[in-house]
Protein backbone atom coordinates (compact mmCIF):
# COMPACT_ATOMS: atom_id res chain seq x y z
CA UNK A 1 0.00 0.00 0.00
CA UNK A 2 1.53 3.27 -1.09
CA UNK A 3 0.81 6.03 1.36
CA UNK A 4 0.31 9.70 0.76
CA UNK A 5 2.93 12.44 0.76
CA UNK A 6 5.83 9.97 0.47
CA UNK A 7 5.28 8.74 4.02
CA UNK A 8 5.02 4.95 3.79
CA UNK A 9 3.30 2.54 6.15
CA UNK A 10 6.20 1.03 8.06
CA UNK A 11 6.66 -2.73 7.90
CA UNK A 12 8.70 -2.87 11.09
CA UNK A 13 9.65 -0.62 13.97
CA UNK A 14 13.07 0.31 12.62
CA UNK A 15 11.46 1.83 9.55
CA UNK A 16 10.09 5.34 9.24
CA UNK A 17 6.41 5.77 8.46
CA UNK A 18 2.91 5.26 9.76
CA UNK A 19 2.71 2.31 12.11
CA UNK A 20 -0.20 -0.08 12.10
CA UNK A 21 -2.14 -0.97 15.20
CA UNK A 22 -1.26 -4.64 15.59
CA UNK A 23 -2.20 -5.36 19.18
CA UNK A 24 -5.98 -5.66 19.07
CA UNK A 25 -7.24 -8.04 16.41
CA UNK A 26 -10.14 -10.41 15.80
CA UNK A 27 -10.50 -11.60 19.40
CA UNK A 28 -10.95 -8.07 20.73
CA UNK A 29 -13.15 -7.28 17.71
CA UNK A 30 -15.28 -10.32 18.56
CA UNK A 31 -15.47 -9.33 22.21
CA UNK A 32 -16.63 -5.81 21.29
CA UNK A 33 -19.11 -7.24 18.78
CA UNK A 34 -20.63 -9.76 21.19
CA UNK A 35 -20.76 -7.14 23.94
CA UNK A 36 -22.52 -4.57 21.79
CA UNK A 37 -24.96 -6.92 20.08
CA UNK A 38 -25.70 -9.00 23.19
CA UNK A 39 -26.27 -6.02 25.44
CA UNK A 40 -28.33 -4.36 22.71
CA UNK A 41 -30.52 -7.45 22.37
CA UNK A 42 -30.93 -7.70 26.13
CA UNK A 43 -31.97 -4.06 26.44
CA UNK A 44 -34.41 -4.18 23.52
CA UNK A 45 -35.89 -7.43 24.82
CA UNK A 46 -36.24 -5.87 28.26
CA UNK A 47 -38.37 -3.20 26.62
CA UNK A 48 -40.45 -5.65 24.59
CA UNK A 49 -40.66 -8.15 27.45
CA UNK A 50 -39.25 -10.94 25.30
CA UNK A 51 -37.73 -13.40 27.73
CA UNK A 52 -36.03 -15.50 25.04
CA UNK A 53 -34.36 -12.40 23.61
CA UNK A 54 -33.22 -11.32 27.08
CA UNK A 55 -31.73 -14.74 27.76
CA UNK A 56 -30.02 -14.90 24.38
CA UNK A 57 -28.59 -11.39 24.83
CA UNK A 58 -27.36 -12.26 28.31
CA UNK A 59 -25.70 -15.44 27.00
CA UNK A 60 -24.03 -13.60 24.11
CA UNK A 61 -22.47 -11.11 26.54
CA UNK A 62 -21.50 -13.56 29.25
CA UNK A 63 -20.16 -16.29 26.97
CA UNK A 64 -19.21 -14.51 23.74
CA UNK A 65 -17.82 -11.24 25.05
CA UNK A 66 -16.23 -12.54 28.22
CA UNK A 67 -14.94 -15.66 26.50
CA UNK A 68 -13.25 -13.68 23.74
CA UNK A 69 -11.68 -11.32 26.30
CA UNK A 70 -10.34 -14.21 28.35
CA UNK A 71 -8.95 -15.96 25.28
CA UNK A 72 -7.16 -12.74 24.35
CA UNK A 73 -5.51 -11.96 27.69
CA UNK A 74 -1.88 -12.93 28.10
CA UNK A 75 -2.62 -13.91 31.70
CA UNK A 76 -6.33 -14.83 31.82
CA UNK A 77 -6.13 -16.20 35.37
CA UNK A 78 -5.41 -12.67 36.57
CA UNK A 79 -8.41 -11.12 34.80
CA UNK A 80 -9.92 -9.98 38.12
CA UNK A 81 -7.07 -7.51 38.52
CA UNK A 82 -8.55 -5.50 35.66
CA UNK A 83 -11.27 -4.25 37.98
CA UNK A 84 -8.82 -2.42 40.20
CA UNK A 85 -8.81 1.05 38.65
CA UNK A 86 -12.29 2.11 37.59
CA UNK A 87 -11.35 5.68 38.48
CA UNK A 88 -8.98 5.90 35.51
CA UNK A 89 -9.34 3.01 33.10
CA UNK A 90 -12.28 2.37 30.78
CA UNK A 91 -11.37 -1.31 30.70
CA UNK A 92 -11.79 -1.43 34.48
CA UNK A 93 -15.14 0.36 34.19
CA UNK A 94 -16.17 -2.17 31.57
CA UNK A 95 -15.26 -5.05 33.87
CA UNK A 96 -17.41 -3.55 36.61
CA UNK A 97 -20.32 -2.99 34.23
CA UNK A 98 -20.04 -6.55 32.93
CA UNK A 99 -19.93 -7.89 36.49
CA UNK A 100 -22.99 -5.88 37.50
CA UNK A 101 -24.75 -6.97 34.30
CA UNK A 102 -23.86 -10.60 35.01
CA UNK A 103 -25.30 -10.50 38.53
CA UNK A 104 -28.37 -8.32 38.00
CA UNK A 105 -29.18 -9.86 34.61
CA UNK A 106 -29.03 -13.33 36.11
CA UNK A 107 -31.33 -12.37 39.00
CA UNK A 108 -33.76 -10.71 36.64
CA UNK A 109 -33.84 -13.68 34.28
CA UNK A 110 -34.23 -16.04 37.23
CA UNK A 111 -37.18 -14.08 38.51
CA UNK A 112 -38.80 -13.99 35.09
CA UNK A 113 -38.25 -17.58 34.05
CA UNK A 114 -39.14 -19.01 37.44
CA UNK A 115 -41.88 -16.49 37.96
CA UNK A 116 -40.45 -16.04 41.44
CA UNK A 117 -41.91 -13.33 43.56
CA UNK A 118 -39.10 -13.34 46.07
CA UNK A 119 -38.30 -9.83 45.06
CA UNK A 120 -41.06 -7.49 44.18
CA UNK A 121 -41.51 -3.78 44.37
CA UNK A 122 -38.32 -1.94 45.31
CA UNK A 123 -35.77 -4.75 44.94
CA UNK A 124 -37.24 -5.80 41.58
CA UNK A 125 -37.06 -2.23 40.33
CA UNK A 126 -33.45 -1.92 41.45
CA UNK A 127 -32.47 -5.19 39.75
CA UNK A 128 -34.30 -4.20 36.59
CA UNK A 129 -32.56 -0.84 36.36
CA UNK A 130 -29.15 -2.24 37.28
CA UNK A 131 -29.46 -4.77 34.45
CA UNK A 132 -30.74 -2.15 32.02
CA UNK A 133 -28.12 0.50 32.81
CA UNK A 134 -25.20 -1.92 32.86
CA UNK A 135 -26.35 -3.29 29.48
CA UNK A 136 -26.51 0.26 28.17
CA UNK A 137 -22.97 0.89 29.44
CA UNK A 138 -21.67 -2.28 27.76
CA UNK A 139 -23.18 -1.09 24.48
CA UNK A 140 -20.95 1.98 24.26
CA UNK A 141 -17.99 1.71 26.65
CA UNK A 142 -15.73 -0.01 24.10
CA UNK A 143 -15.91 3.22 22.13
CA UNK A 144 -14.35 4.96 25.12
CA UNK A 145 -11.75 2.19 25.46
CA UNK A 146 -10.63 2.93 21.93
CA UNK A 147 -10.94 6.71 22.01
CA UNK A 148 -9.28 7.24 25.41
CA UNK A 149 -5.75 7.58 24.11
CA UNK A 150 -4.47 10.13 21.59
CA UNK A 151 -2.05 7.61 20.10
CA UNK A 152 -4.30 6.63 17.20
CA UNK A 153 -5.88 9.83 15.84
CA UNK A 154 -8.61 7.94 13.98
CA UNK A 155 -9.96 6.56 17.26
CA UNK A 156 -9.43 9.63 19.42
CA UNK A 157 -12.83 11.22 18.93
CA UNK A 158 -15.95 11.50 21.05
CA UNK A 159 -18.10 10.29 18.15
CA UNK A 160 -16.76 6.74 18.47
CA UNK A 161 -18.71 5.79 21.64
CA UNK A 162 -21.86 7.19 20.02
CA UNK A 163 -21.21 5.11 16.91
CA UNK A 164 -20.74 2.02 19.10
CA UNK A 165 -24.01 2.79 20.88
CA UNK A 166 -26.05 3.22 17.71
CA UNK A 167 -24.52 0.11 16.15
CA UNK A 168 -25.23 -1.85 19.33
CA UNK A 169 -28.82 -0.63 19.30
CA UNK A 170 -29.11 -1.60 15.63
CA UNK A 171 -27.72 -5.07 16.32
CA UNK A 172 -30.05 -5.47 19.29
CA UNK A 173 -33.12 -4.42 17.31
CA UNK A 174 -32.18 -6.71 14.40
CA UNK A 175 -31.66 -9.72 16.63
CA UNK A 176 -34.81 -8.98 18.59
CA UNK A 177 -36.83 -8.88 15.38
CA UNK A 178 -35.23 -12.10 14.17
CA UNK A 179 -35.83 -13.96 17.43
CA UNK A 180 -39.43 -12.75 17.50
CA UNK A 181 -40.10 -13.87 13.95
CA UNK A 182 -38.33 -17.20 14.19
CA UNK A 183 -40.16 -18.17 17.34
CA UNK A 184 -43.42 -16.90 15.92
CA UNK A 185 -44.23 -15.04 19.11
CA UNK A 186 -43.70 -11.54 17.87
CA UNK A 187 -45.97 -8.93 19.29
CA UNK A 188 -47.41 -6.94 16.37
CA UNK A 189 -47.11 -3.56 18.08
CA UNK A 190 -43.53 -4.16 19.14
CA UNK A 191 -42.54 -5.66 15.78
CA UNK A 192 -43.89 -2.65 13.95
CA UNK A 193 -42.03 -0.25 16.25
CA UNK A 194 -38.85 -2.29 15.96
CA UNK A 195 -39.01 -2.37 12.17
CA UNK A 196 -39.41 1.38 12.18
CA UNK A 197 -36.53 1.67 14.65
CA UNK A 198 -34.37 -0.59 12.49
CA UNK A 199 -34.79 1.63 9.44
CA UNK A 200 -34.19 4.77 11.48
CA UNK A 201 -31.02 3.36 13.06
CA UNK A 202 -29.70 2.27 9.66
CA UNK A 203 -30.07 5.81 8.36
CA UNK A 204 -28.56 7.28 11.54
CA UNK A 205 -25.57 4.93 11.32
CA UNK A 206 -25.03 5.77 7.68
CA UNK A 207 -25.03 9.47 8.52
CA UNK A 208 -22.77 8.98 11.54
CA UNK A 209 -20.26 7.04 9.46
CA UNK A 210 -20.24 9.80 6.85
CA UNK A 211 -19.73 12.47 9.53
CA UNK A 212 -17.01 10.36 11.18
CA UNK A 213 -15.06 10.00 7.93
CA UNK A 214 -15.50 13.67 7.11
CA UNK A 215 -14.21 14.75 10.52
CA UNK A 216 -11.24 12.38 10.27
CA UNK A 217 -10.40 13.56 6.78
CA UNK A 218 -10.02 17.07 8.14
CA UNK A 219 -8.31 16.14 11.38
CA UNK A 220 -4.67 15.44 10.53
CA UNK A 221 -2.54 13.53 8.05
CA UNK A 222 -2.53 10.28 10.03
CA UNK A 223 -6.30 10.17 10.39
CA UNK A 224 -6.63 11.07 6.72
CA UNK A 225 -4.37 8.17 5.81
CA UNK A 226 -6.74 5.83 7.66
CA UNK A 227 -9.69 7.25 5.72
CA UNK A 228 -7.75 6.51 2.54
CA UNK A 229 -7.16 2.95 3.69
CA UNK A 230 -10.89 2.56 4.28
CA UNK A 231 -12.07 4.12 1.05
CA UNK A 232 -9.30 3.27 -1.43
CA UNK A 233 -6.74 1.09 0.26
CA UNK A 234 -6.53 -2.45 1.51
CA UNK A 235 -9.68 -2.19 3.65
CA UNK A 236 -11.91 -0.57 1.02
CA UNK A 237 -13.60 -3.80 -0.07
CA UNK A 238 -14.45 -4.57 3.55
CA UNK A 239 -15.54 -1.08 4.52
CA UNK A 240 -17.33 -0.01 1.37
CA UNK A 241 -18.49 -3.50 0.42
CA UNK A 242 -19.46 -5.13 3.70
CA UNK A 243 -19.97 -2.24 6.12
CA UNK A 244 -21.71 0.27 3.87
CA UNK A 245 -23.26 -1.70 0.98
CA UNK A 246 -24.16 -4.93 2.76
CA UNK A 247 -24.44 -3.81 6.38
CA UNK A 248 -26.35 -0.59 5.84
CA UNK A 249 -27.75 -0.06 2.36
CA UNK A 250 -28.73 -3.66 1.53
CA UNK A 251 -30.09 -4.11 5.05
CA UNK A 252 -32.18 -0.95 4.69
CA UNK A 253 -33.61 -2.02 1.33
CA UNK A 254 -34.37 -5.51 2.62
CA UNK A 255 -36.00 -4.07 5.74
CA UNK A 256 -38.25 -1.92 3.61
CA UNK A 257 -39.06 -4.94 1.44
CA UNK A 258 -39.78 -6.98 4.55
CA UNK A 259 -42.47 -4.58 5.69
CA UNK A 260 -44.29 -5.24 2.41
CA UNK A 261 -43.59 -8.94 1.91
CA UNK A 262 -43.58 -10.20 5.50
CA UNK A 263 -41.56 -13.29 4.56
CA UNK A 264 -40.02 -14.98 7.57
CA UNK A 265 -36.73 -16.07 5.96
CA UNK A 266 -36.10 -12.52 4.80
CA UNK A 267 -35.52 -11.52 8.41
CA UNK A 268 -32.69 -14.03 8.63
CA UNK A 269 -31.08 -12.48 5.55
CA UNK A 270 -31.52 -9.01 7.05
CA UNK A 271 -29.92 -10.14 10.31
CA UNK A 272 -27.01 -11.78 8.46
CA UNK A 273 -26.38 -8.62 6.43
CA UNK A 274 -26.62 -6.27 9.41
CA UNK A 275 -24.47 -8.36 11.73
CA UNK A 276 -21.86 -8.84 9.00
CA UNK A 277 -21.64 -5.08 8.58
CA UNK A 278 -21.54 -4.56 12.35
CA UNK A 279 -18.69 -7.04 12.90
CA UNK A 280 -16.76 -5.85 9.86
CA UNK A 281 -16.96 -2.24 11.02
CA UNK A 282 -15.36 -3.12 14.35
CA UNK A 283 -12.67 -5.13 12.61
CA UNK A 284 -11.77 -2.46 10.08
CA UNK A 285 -11.75 0.17 12.83
CA UNK A 286 -9.24 -1.93 14.75
CA UNK A 287 -7.14 -2.96 11.74
CA UNK A 288 -6.96 0.43 10.06
CA UNK A 289 -5.80 2.29 13.16
CA UNK A 290 -2.52 4.06 12.41
CA UNK A 291 0.06 5.68 14.64
CA UNK A 292 1.64 8.92 13.50
CA UNK A 293 5.17 8.66 12.12
CA UNK A 294 7.95 9.58 14.51
CA UNK A 295 10.54 11.84 13.03
CA UNK A 296 12.32 15.11 13.41
CA UNK A 297 9.76 17.86 12.78
CA UNK A 298 11.87 19.16 9.92
CA UNK A 299 11.01 16.01 7.95
CA UNK A 300 7.29 16.39 8.53
CA UNK A 301 6.22 19.58 6.76
CA UNK A 302 2.63 19.29 7.95
CA UNK A 303 3.62 19.33 11.58
CA UNK A 304 4.56 22.59 13.19
CA UNK A 305 7.93 22.67 14.77
CA UNK A 306 7.45 23.62 18.35
CA UNK A 307 8.93 23.12 21.74
CA UNK A 308 7.02 21.11 24.28
Amino acid sequence: MQAHASIPIAEHRFQFGYYRQVWWGWLIGSAFFFGEVGAGLFLVSLWTGDLVGMTLGYAIVMVGKNGAHLLYLGRPARFWRAARRPDRSWIARGIWATGIFGASGFLWLLSQWGDYRLWTGGPATIIFWMAALSALFIMFYDGFVMSASPSIPFWHIGLLPLLCLTYAALGGVTLSLTVGELLGRADATHQSALMWGESLLLVINLLLLAVYLWLMWHRNETARETVRLLLQGRYARFFVGLVVLVGLIATLLLSLAHTQLAVRWLMIVIAACELTGDFTLLMVLLKSGLYAPQAAPVFLPSRNRRRS
Binding site: F16, W23, L73, R81, A83, A148, S149, I152, F299
Partner: protein
Protein backbone atom coordinates in the same frame (compact mmCIF):
# COMPACT_ATOMS: atom_id res chain seq x y z
CA UNK B 1 14.08 13.86 44.12
CA UNK B 2 15.40 14.13 40.55
CA UNK B 3 13.21 13.76 37.48
CA UNK B 4 15.24 11.67 35.10
CA UNK B 5 15.32 12.54 31.46
CA UNK B 6 17.43 12.22 28.36
CA UNK B 7 18.60 14.44 25.56
CA UNK B 8 19.54 12.91 22.20
CA UNK B 9 21.66 14.99 19.87
CA UNK B 10 20.67 14.02 16.34
CA UNK B 11 23.66 15.87 14.91
CA UNK B 12 25.90 13.39 16.67
CA UNK B 13 23.96 10.19 15.98
CA UNK B 14 25.55 8.11 13.23
CA UNK B 15 22.94 5.34 13.27
CA UNK B 16 25.35 2.65 14.46
CA UNK B 17 22.68 0.97 16.63
CA UNK B 18 25.20 0.45 19.41
CA UNK B 19 22.46 1.65 21.78
CA UNK B 20 20.13 -1.03 20.42
CA UNK B 21 22.70 -3.75 21.07
CA UNK B 22 23.79 -2.38 24.45
CA UNK B 23 20.18 -2.39 25.59
CA UNK B 24 19.75 -5.95 24.32
CA UNK B 25 22.81 -7.03 26.26
CA UNK B 26 21.88 -5.17 29.43
CA UNK B 27 18.32 -6.43 29.62
CA UNK B 28 18.61 -9.65 27.65
CA UNK B 29 15.27 -8.95 26.00
CA UNK B 30 13.54 -11.82 24.18
CA UNK B 31 13.67 -12.10 20.37
CA UNK B 32 12.13 -9.20 18.43
CA UNK B 33 11.83 -7.03 21.53
CA UNK B 34 13.92 -3.87 21.38
CA UNK B 35 13.64 -1.30 24.15
CA UNK B 36 15.98 0.95 22.15
CA UNK B 37 16.00 1.21 18.38
CA UNK B 38 17.12 3.59 15.67
CA UNK B 39 14.72 4.51 12.89
CA UNK B 40 16.45 5.23 9.61
CA UNK B 41 15.11 7.43 6.87
CA UNK B 42 16.53 8.45 3.53
CA UNK B 43 15.69 12.01 2.58
CA UNK B 44 16.31 14.07 -0.51
CA UNK B 45 17.30 12.90 -3.98
CA UNK B 46 20.65 12.32 -5.59
CA UNK B 47 23.03 14.15 -5.43
CA UNK B 48 21.59 15.68 -2.27
CA UNK B 49 20.35 12.50 -0.64
CA UNK B 50 21.27 11.62 2.91
CA UNK B 51 20.31 9.17 5.62
CA UNK B 52 18.92 10.46 8.86
CA UNK B 53 18.63 8.58 12.11
CA UNK B 54 16.21 8.86 14.98
CA UNK B 55 17.10 6.89 18.12
CA UNK B 56 13.95 5.87 20.00
CA UNK B 57 13.25 4.55 23.44
CA UNK B 58 10.49 4.90 26.02
CA UNK B 59 9.89 8.60 26.60
CA UNK B 60 8.97 8.06 30.27
CA UNK B 61 6.18 10.58 29.81
CA UNK B 62 5.00 12.72 32.69
CA UNK B 63 1.42 12.15 31.58
CA UNK B 64 1.96 8.64 30.33
CA UNK B 65 -1.06 7.28 28.44
CA UNK B 66 0.14 3.73 29.08
CA UNK B 67 -0.13 4.34 32.82
CA UNK B 68 -3.50 6.05 32.46
CA UNK B 69 -5.20 3.21 30.59
CA UNK B 70 -3.71 0.32 32.57
CA UNK B 71 -6.68 -1.33 34.33
CA UNK B 72 -4.61 -3.17 36.93
CA UNK B 73 -2.08 -0.57 38.02
CA UNK B 74 0.73 -2.78 36.67
CA UNK B 75 2.16 0.25 34.90
CA UNK B 76 3.24 2.88 37.37
CA UNK B 77 5.42 5.97 37.53
CA UNK B 78 8.19 6.10 40.11
CA UNK B 79 8.71 9.33 42.06
CA UNK B 80 11.78 10.00 39.89
CA UNK B 81 9.63 9.87 36.75
CA UNK B 82 10.64 6.44 35.45
CA UNK B 83 7.67 4.52 34.01
CA UNK B 84 7.79 0.88 35.04
CA UNK B 85 5.75 -2.31 34.62
CA UNK B 86 5.09 -4.71 37.48
CA UNK B 87 4.82 -7.99 35.56
CA UNK B 88 3.18 -9.70 38.54
CA UNK B 89 0.17 -7.41 38.15
CA UNK B 90 0.01 -7.35 34.35
CA UNK B 91 -2.80 -9.32 32.70
CA UNK B 92 -1.58 -8.87 29.13
CA UNK B 93 -4.54 -6.84 27.84
CA UNK B 94 -2.17 -4.72 25.73
CA UNK B 95 -4.17 -1.55 26.33
CA UNK B 96 -0.90 0.20 27.20
CA UNK B 97 0.64 -0.88 23.89
CA UNK B 98 -2.32 0.52 21.99
CA UNK B 99 -2.20 3.74 24.02
CA UNK B 100 1.52 4.44 23.58
CA UNK B 101 1.93 6.77 20.58
CA UNK B 102 5.64 5.94 20.47
CA UNK B 103 5.25 2.16 20.18
CA UNK B 104 7.53 1.51 23.09
CA UNK B 105 5.54 -1.21 24.80
CA UNK B 106 6.31 -4.86 24.11
CA UNK B 107 4.26 -7.99 24.65
CA UNK B 108 6.02 -11.22 25.53
CA UNK B 109 4.12 -13.82 23.57
CA UNK B 110 3.47 -17.11 25.33
CA UNK B 111 6.20 -19.58 24.42
CA UNK B 112 8.71 -16.88 23.47
CA UNK B 113 10.89 -17.28 26.52
CA UNK B 114 10.88 -21.05 26.32
CA UNK B 115 11.82 -21.08 22.65
CA UNK B 116 14.67 -18.60 23.06
CA UNK B 117 16.73 -17.13 20.25
CA UNK B 118 17.39 -20.50 18.72
CA UNK B 119 13.68 -21.21 18.59
CA UNK B 120 14.25 -24.77 19.78
CA UNK B 121 14.10 -24.32 23.54
CA UNK B 122 17.84 -24.81 23.92
CA UNK B 123 18.59 -21.67 25.94
CA UNK B 124 22.11 -20.38 26.43
CA UNK B 125 23.22 -19.60 30.00
CA UNK B 126 22.86 -15.90 29.15
CA UNK B 127 19.30 -16.39 27.96
CA UNK B 128 18.39 -18.49 31.00
CA UNK B 129 19.75 -15.82 33.30
CA UNK B 130 18.20 -12.82 31.58
CA UNK B 131 14.85 -14.34 30.64
CA UNK B 132 14.17 -15.04 34.31
CA UNK B 133 13.34 -11.34 34.68
CA UNK B 134 10.46 -11.58 32.17
CA UNK B 135 7.05 -13.20 32.30
CA UNK B 136 5.30 -14.60 29.27
CA UNK B 137 1.90 -13.11 28.52
CA UNK B 138 2.80 -9.76 30.07
CA UNK B 139 4.06 -6.41 28.87
CA UNK B 140 7.59 -5.15 29.19
CA UNK B 141 9.34 -1.89 28.36
CA UNK B 142 12.44 0.26 28.70
CA UNK B 143 13.14 1.03 32.34
CA UNK B 144 15.69 3.80 31.72
CA UNK B 145 17.96 1.11 33.22
CA UNK B 146 16.42 1.84 36.63
CA UNK B 147 18.60 -0.84 38.22
CA UNK B 148 21.69 1.05 37.05
CA UNK B 149 20.31 4.51 37.81
CA UNK B 150 19.54 3.42 41.37
CA UNK B 151 23.24 2.61 41.74
CA UNK B 152 24.27 6.00 40.44
CA UNK B 153 25.11 4.71 36.97
CA UNK B 154 23.82 5.90 33.61
CA UNK B 155 21.63 3.79 31.31
CA UNK B 156 23.47 1.30 29.11
CA UNK B 157 22.52 3.08 25.88
CA UNK B 158 24.03 6.33 27.20
CA UNK B 159 27.28 4.74 28.32
CA UNK B 160 27.67 2.83 25.06
CA UNK B 161 26.97 5.61 22.57
CA UNK B 162 30.34 6.17 20.79
CA UNK B 163 29.49 9.71 19.72
CA UNK B 164 28.04 10.73 23.09
CA UNK B 165 24.81 11.64 21.39
CA UNK B 166 22.82 10.67 24.48
CA UNK B 167 22.93 12.69 27.67
CA UNK B 168 21.16 11.49 30.79
CA UNK B 169 20.36 13.63 33.80
CA UNK B 170 17.92 15.48 36.01
CA UNK B 171 15.38 17.54 34.10
CA UNK B 172 14.41 19.43 37.24
CA UNK B 173 17.91 20.79 37.76
CA UNK B 174 17.78 24.26 36.15
CA UNK B 175 21.57 24.48 36.06
CA UNK B 176 22.05 20.92 34.87
CA UNK B 177 23.41 19.95 31.48
CA UNK B 178 20.03 18.72 30.24
CA UNK B 179 18.18 21.92 31.04
CA UNK B 180 20.88 24.04 29.46
CA UNK B 181 21.02 21.97 26.28
CA UNK B 182 17.24 22.00 25.90
CA UNK B 183 17.15 25.74 26.46
CA UNK B 184 20.11 26.70 24.30
CA UNK B 185 19.49 24.34 21.40
CA UNK B 186 15.71 24.45 21.39
CA UNK B 187 15.10 20.86 22.37
CA UNK B 188 11.90 19.26 21.16
CA UNK B 189 9.97 16.10 21.91
CA UNK B 190 8.24 13.57 19.72
CA UNK B 191 4.53 14.00 18.93
CA UNK B 192 3.91 16.94 21.28
CA UNK B 193 0.33 17.07 20.02
CA UNK B 194 -0.38 13.91 22.03
CA UNK B 195 0.12 15.89 25.24
CA UNK B 196 2.13 13.16 26.94
CA UNK B 197 4.99 15.42 28.15
CA UNK B 198 7.90 13.13 27.23
CA UNK B 199 11.12 13.22 29.25
CA UNK B 200 13.27 12.41 26.21
CA UNK B 201 14.26 15.48 24.23
CA UNK B 202 15.91 15.77 20.83
CA UNK B 203 18.34 18.33 19.49
CA UNK B 204 18.99 19.01 15.84
CA UNK B 205 20.27 22.58 15.85
Amino acid sequence: MPRWGMVIDLKRCVGCNACTIACKQEHGTPPDIHFARVVTREVGTYPHAKRTFLPLLCNHCEDAPCERVCPTGATYIRPDGIVMVDADKCIGCRACAVACPYLNRHFIEPGLLQAGYGGNGDLTPFESLKFAAFQEGTMTKCTFCAHRVDQGLEPACVVTCPTEARIFGDLDDPDGRLSRLIEERKGWTLLPECGTKPCVYYLDE
